[in-house]
Symmetry: C2
Subunit: 317 residues, 2 copies
Amino acid sequence: MTALADRVLAGDVRAAARLMRLIDDAQPEAEAALRELWPRTGRAQIVGITGNPGAGKSTLVDRLVALLRARGKTVGVLAVDPTSPFTGGAILGDRIRMQDHALDTGVFIRSMATRGQLGGLSRATSDCARVLDAMGKEVVLIETVGVGQDEVEICRLAHTTVVVVVPGLGDDIQAIKAGILEVADLFAVNKSDREGADRTVRDLRSMLELNHVVGKDQGGHEIAIVKCVASRGEGIEELWNAIEAHYRWLRGGDGLLARETQRARHELVEVLRERLLRVALDRLAQNGARLDDLALRIARRETDPYSVADEAASFPP
Amino acid sequence: MTALADRVLAGDVRAAARLMRLIDDAQPEAEAALRELWPRTGRAQIVGITGNPGAGKSTLVDRLVALLRARGKTVGVLAVDPTSPFTGGAILGDRIRMQDHALDTGVFIRSMATRGQLGGLSRATSDCARVLDAMGKEVVLIETVGVGQDEVEICRLAHTTVVVVVPGLGDDIQAIKAGILEVADLFAVNKSDREGADRTVRDLRSMLELNHVVGKDQGGHEIAIVKCVASRGEGIEELWNAIEAHYRWLRGGDGLLARETQRARHELVEVLRERLLRVALDRLAQNGARLDDLALRIARRETDPYSVADEAASFPP
């Protein structure tokens, strides 16, 4: 086993941070370490927290961390920034939050800034969740903005996905209806001291009934709707209890293995896709065809992407 | 040439709609037709319209369509729904809008509902934009919710990307700062009859200055900020003029070829990725290894994604 994987398994924070940077940069060392860590993963409880900007997800996550720490559980947090694939985005959130938990070695918090990773954000987040799992974190919270397809993909990684909404959804209800409903294992109505909280709960309830939603796996766990006020710490315990109830239900039946298999399938396809692409691009380069030159020829209509792909796919390995 | 490609080139609306459905479903006929159409594409002006939900993008797009039609230009619209990869989402928008332009054969409007396409939303949108291009639409408007990474990817397809914001951004300014800024070729401040419109313009201006933004390609086209009230049709002409000015600037230098090359590169990688994956999964299946079985074995920690990928990548083609 490599020294890096070894140190991650021992819970070494600096080794975990280093491995995550290697994952961001899609370095070969990352894959080597992840491969070694694989058999030692699958123990963490993974919870997704998603919702529109302004729903108060970060505060909610901070409160959950405090609750879990008070209960003696070790926690990892991955905060997925809705930032550009170009810059890497702000890591401000980290710095602010790290202050609360800076001296607590039972918590590991990290921003996943999207940097146009070759494998995409969902792949990098999945890999980083594995690292937290391997280093022994009992609960991994993945916080993500729930609008784009990539964010929805990230929810698939979780055992339990909490969709955070606020009273007075207005225009947002359409977006929630359309996209987020099917990934929700439970709803948190945050800022529920605001006017209209009860109406939001009713609206969600009737939306679930209208859509005959009976849980992601159709197995029949009722989707809970929990009211909370994260800024004041209200309803956090109830929320965690609902998350635990869902997780217990998953573990009680085939649900957990079904989700793990779905996730494994997703990861396998992602790994395979990148591996094959890398091999093919290398082969093209060995045959004197650089990607940039090919792109220019395609842009000039001298060839097309399909013909180039034919050629690349027909090279022997 | 296939009959389908032939009919698309002749501007046949039903053929174009059929090809787009084949693209959605990743059918082999779609690739065959797209390959034939490739040399006949690259003529349309592609404009991306992005921004948060509630920014009034749809109304703005409708107004732009009306303006372009009044100027005698043919138009294609792709509306990318922020919907789930699971259901395919609502096509409501289509139906409402089609009424306005239903009798106008110079307009083609389509919702891109994400259905977990093998190649992803950005690939399907790109392909559908090619179809509109090939059928002779002079302007293609791509409307997308600008939060997730996939939506940002879609902006890369456009020659000019318009980011729509509304006065009183509040929490949203962080998201805009972080993610959308770098894809913006110009800003539309919609609903600018609302209080705070001038402040929003100033905020955007100073944000651009702070970030030393000089246009996506660093070539130095100043990013315009245009105020409008789409619901009343105000500022639409100014907005289109700014879009045209940016496009003229692109055409005047290397900008257009640079963007087309970037886009071709992106498409080549996407086509290649899917082609190789399909070939590898077929080979695995021929060797008796079904994807679902492999996923289950990985979930049970009997193997790992990397070892399976090694095996799949080493098969001869």
